[in-house]
Amino acid sequence: MWLAIFSLTLLGTLLGLALGLAAKRFHVEASSIVAEIEALMPGSNCGQCGFAGCPRAAAAIADGSAPVTVCPPGGKALAQMLAARLGISIDLTSVADEGPQIAIVAEDICIGCCRCSKVCPTDAIVGAAKQIHNVIREACTGCGNCIDRCPTEALLLQPLPVTVQHWVWPKPATVVIALAV
């Protein structure tokens, strides 16, 4: 019996020592996760998440105080990328992702006050003073900053329509397929 106790103790000590040495020897410097998350985010600092800009939101996501679904313009795609990066699983069915949205100007009530264009984080609204403004579709992130600024409520957020070109097949109802490799 003593022999067994002795040999197992010896084995445990040696293996523990080896593990400890390996941990020191092969130590990997953890990359700055905040910087990585920030790189994934839209970077428009629109503030819809409630944080002061994307860097703050990235920090909050990294330390877990904000969910990965915090960014509305990023939508499901960003949430998925963040979840994959952080190694967490999320239930995307609960994410209220109405799809991408864009702002449009109701041309009959726009008075050309230029207030909206000043707060647009991507300079997506064009128009001179006293002229009807317009939104550049490609540049608008749908952040909604302009909506509250408009004195005549001429700005509206509308979902970007799904077209035949952008339509994606739905995922089939889950069938269990074993992962073997």
Binding site: A77, A139, P170, V175, A180
Partner: protein, 508 residues
């Protein structure tokens, strides 16, 4: 076929052999559809940018008249399929599984079917190859095998890459369909003349016509038509799905394998469908743009299946009525059963790539319930691309799209062999379509995010620059004022001056 032939008959190590269901539709003589009252001509009937309408509502157009022009490098124009009045330009349900709408021009036929002025060419071989490509493009000819890639774009590609061999695809491996079979039987001379024009346009030295050996009449007709031309060979190929896929047909006929991410033209081969060749013949020899095509009407719910010559834009419901529907079809499919798409309803127009409309009865439309994968490996053996469908699907099921891509998802041609053989009826193709769509949507959203970031950075830079410029301007004004003050002070006792700041400065 004898039992020994059945056992020892050589077939490629890939693919499946579904029941072909081609008879009796393939043997029924070609019929012409009576002119429908309304035609809905979609603007996107091809790969690439949609065409742009060049007619106005209320305008009268003649058959063959240009009604929408091509936009961009990869695009195709659209022509009026009959004479009549433009009654609307608006959205109609697209022949697409989503059932979403797309822009179409609606023509109310006047019944006269009057052609516009046509410019036939007596000797296309006297034209420059570039001119043939130009005329083909202007006639709106696209790949009629189903891919609908603008034909002239491929001509130019073939000429640039010095293609040696033209492969004419008469495979038609999809069950139920026989429109290519019919065109080879009835219009073999047109097909052969068209393919010779294509050969000339791309500078190919030989043409190989690949026809599946389950179409003996088509093979015979094409052999007769091609007999006079030594550089056109008709080559029967084993009937094996998906023989009509470019890559598989090229491999079977030439032994060449198209490298991944490369085009067939880069290995000196170009593939055109037989119906496309016939359309090229009509575009050149008769000056007729692509305004009609042969559509196979087939399926258990039809009483008179067969092939119909129908104008582009004909609503499916008109075709079904002509072919006699018994009861209510359980499913409508555009294209073949292996790769075709489900139509949401029958009020969808046919497009240039519509090789067939299938009206399935309840038995044909039965969808078996999916069960768990038993890892039998049938899909692996069936896959013509050498992929592992079960491994890809298991990763997609677990939302590991990157993992699926690592197994070659981008090489999947979506032929459906895997889902066809799956004993558990797992909708493998839908897994792959979903994953491909999702990956490209993510790619788009990433590009969009990058663009947003760039715009935001530019805005920050602009604001900084403006602030800097304002500060510089203010400093300059201050210096000027101080200089003026000093000068005035030297001249006389300074008067009290009220300095008005610019509004923008006050705001900051």
């Amino acid at each position: 076929m004898g039992i020994f032939e059945k056992i020892f008959r050589h077939h490629p190590p890939w693919g499946v052999h579904p029941d072909d269901h081609k008879l009796p539709a393939a043997n029924a003589p070609l019929r012409s559809l009576p002119l429908p009252a309304l035609l809905y001509v979609p603007m996107q009937q091809h790969v690439g940018s949609p065409a742009r309408p060049v007619v106005l509502v209320g305008q009268h157009v003649l058959k063959g008249q240009l009604i929408a022009e091509a936009q961009g490098n990869v695009s195709a124009p659209v022509h009026a399929p009959t004479s009549g009045r433009i009654s609307a330009i608006g959205e109609v349900t697209a022949p697409h599984p989503s059932g979403l709408a797309q822009l179409a021009i609606t023509i109310a036929a006047d019944g006269a079917d009057t052609w516009c002025e046509r410019l036939p060419v007596d000797d296309p071989f006297a034209l420059a190859p570039e001119e043939i490509a130009r005329r083909t493009a202007a006639a709106g000819v696209v790949g009629l095998g189903g891919a609908t890639f603008p034909a002239a774009v491929k001509f130019n590609l073939g000429r640039r890459l010095k293609v040696n061999t033209l492969i004419v695809n008469g495979g038609e491996c999809e069950p139920y369909l026989s429109s290519d079979d019919r065109i080879m039987r009835d219009r073999a001379a047109e097909v052969v003349d068209g393919l010779r024009i294509v050969m000339y346009a791309i500078g190919a030295r030989e043409a190989l016509v690949g026809i599946e050996d389950n179409k003996p009449q088509a093979i015979a007709a094409m052999r007769v038509a091609a007999a006079a031309f030594g550089n056109v060979q008709v080559r029967p190929v084993p009937a094996r799905y998906p023989m009509g896929s470019d890559k598989q047909l090229i491999q079977t006929l030439t032994g060449k394998e198209v490298p991944a991410d490369a085009r067939a033209a880069e290995v000196g081969v170009l593939v055109h469908n037989v119906s496309t060749c016939a359309a090229v013949h009509r575009a050149l020899r008769r000056g007729e743009p692509l305004v009609e095509r042969i559509v196979t009407l087939n399926g258990g719910a039809l009483t008179r299946p067969g092939n119909l010559l129908a104008p582009i834009g004909t609503p499916v419901v008109d075709l079904l009525r002509f072919a006699g529907v018994s009861g209510r079809p359980a499913r409508l499919v555009l294209g073949g059963p292996m790769m075709g798409i489900v139509l949401p309803h029958a009020r969808v127009p046919i497009v240039k790539g519509a090789s067939g409309i299938l009206a399935f009865d309840a038995a044909e439309a039965h969808v078996a319930e999916a069960g768990p994968c038993i890892r039998c490996g049938s899909c692996t053996r069936a896959c013509p691309m050498g992929l592992l469908p079960l491994e890809m699907a298991s990763r997609i099921g677990a939302d590991d799209l990157a993992g699926a891509a690592g197994f070659g998802l981008s090489d999947c041609i979506g032929c459906g062999c895997c889902a066809y053989v799956c004993p558990s009826h797992i909708p493998l193709v839908q897994y792959f379509s979903y994953a491909k769509g999702e990956l490209s949507a993510r790619e788009r959203s990433k590009l969009r995010n990058d663009a947003t970031r760039r715009l935001a950075e530019e805005r920050v830079a602009r604001l900084e620059r403006e602030a800097r410029e304002k500060a510089a301007a203010a400093a300059r004004r201050k210096a000027e004022r101080d200089a003026a003050k000093a000068a005035a002070g030297a001249a006389a006792r300074p008067l009290p001056v009220r300095i008005v700041k610019p509004a923008s400065e006050a705001a900051t």
